[in-house]
Symmetry: C2
Subunit: 256 residues, 2 copies
């Protein structure tokens, strides 16, 4: 692994649940030597990618990341555009709604709205979602580049529950349904007892950029509710797509 990759994988050890980590802890989890870990942290700190708490000496993600993320957001206002619509959708459905963006080979959760229910689906910002076994993933794949789809479907796929589809043919069928319907449905494919619907947010070229999804406990979810949510999530995703691409929705037809 390159040194750069190692440094970034240190950053990736931080999460919403564990936003501050000590040197030894980071070394242990990353598998790097303590000296190596520290060397990397110092390099990262020198550019504000991590900060060190002056009291505990623990490390946390730094302001340099916020800076770059804001620069990115200024050119590509994904959050700014989508979050209000995600909020509306959350108010409408009264279930967990999450927004994700494609990165490398997975979907990255960048925003979540939780309902007031005690029994709800909990999702953390920063969570990474596999493409083949989530409603978001299927919705994404339905409008992804062929190369992305191929990369996803070749090789063996993890089964997270007994319901996870792991055969390429079954997943392709699911993608096809999502494409026709305008939204995907994933019934406990990633976590037992959770049913989700999702729709793709698409770029000016018609390919998917990310997704909006509604996740709910299966116990209180009727087929009618699924259909209703599906239409709502489809509408929301379409609206985000249009706002992102300056209203020229005609390009949103897939150029097969």
């Amino acid at each position: 692994m390159s040194t750069v990759g190692k440094a970034i994988s240190l950053l990736e050890l931080f999460s919403v649940d564990e936003p501050e980590l000590g040197l030894s802890d980071l070394a242990r989890r990353s598998g790097f030597d303590k000296a190596t870990t520290r060397r990397l942290l110092v390099a990262l700190a020198g550019h504000g990618f991590v900060e060190q708490d002056t009291g505990t000496r623990h490390y946390r993600l730094g302001a340099g990341l916020s800076r770059l993320a804001r620069i990115r957001e200024a050119r590509f206002p994904f959050l700014q555009t989508a979050v209000p619509l995600v909020r509306d959708l959350a108010a409408l459905t009264v279930e967990t709604v999450h927004l994700s963006e494609f990165g490398v080979d997975r979907l990255v959760t960048v925003h979540v709205e939780h309902p007031a229910w005690a029994n709800r689906v909990n999702i953390d910002i920063g969570q990474l979602l596999p493409l083949h076994s989530t409603a978001s993933g299927i919705a994404y794949l339905a409008f992804a580049r062929d190369e992305t789809v191929k990369a996803c479907l070749t090789g063996s796929l993890d089964a997270f529950t007994a319901h996870t589809l792991i055969e390429a043919a079954a997943i392709s069928r699911s993608m096809g349904e999502a494409r026709e319907r305008g939204y995907s449905i994933c019934d406990q494919g990633y976590e037992e007892g959770v049913i989700s619907v999702a729709a793709a947010i698409r770029g000016a070229d018609g390919f998917a950029l990310g997704t909006i999804a509604v996740a709910a406990p299966k116990a209180r979810t009727t087929a009618a509710a699924i259909a209703e949510r599906g239409l709502a999530v489809r509408t929301a995703a379409r609206e985000v797509s249009m706002r992102l691409n300056g209203e020229n929705l005609q390009i949103l037809r897939r150029q097969a």
Copy 2:
């Protein structure tokens, strides 16, 4: 420079004005060899820190940065807390209001609100502000750790305009005034014809975390307007500080 430092300095070449850059361009600006540059970009792309446009093959900042920034924001909701108050302040003053956070040795602009005026002070997200020659910088230094102040004042300081204060004594005096007043004033210290006021956002330990500032063309700015804005920016910064620290404002007294 460490490899990690090189990779990060590649990321820092991107800005709001130039959010997409080609390989040769990046190599030229960074001063790294083309092969080195590409190697670094590939490593960064592998973790979603940069993405490559499939058409132009140009590189841009990637979703991985958004992810980490959002994880950071979840633990330390600086933007979420401050932006609404920055907006209110912009509506009130009808001048450019910007929010910044300390990083490494400078202030990082993380949010900006511009007024509708044609003649206004323009600031980009991501802009880095020096501590000694901006209203934000002085406001920050007024409540910074002694080590930070010392690090800033030792060594020679750049004069950006004929008005820039570059003697440690003068800057210290300016800091003292800011501390008493609750806000700093910087009269053309960074850019000719621009006058700004700023106040520090402070953490639970009483030390500054960042600043809120109002910047306006000097031509249309009266002494009375400065005083008024000063109080407004002070109030806004105090409010952000309190919300960030869970209302326990008593800790906000400086523990000399």
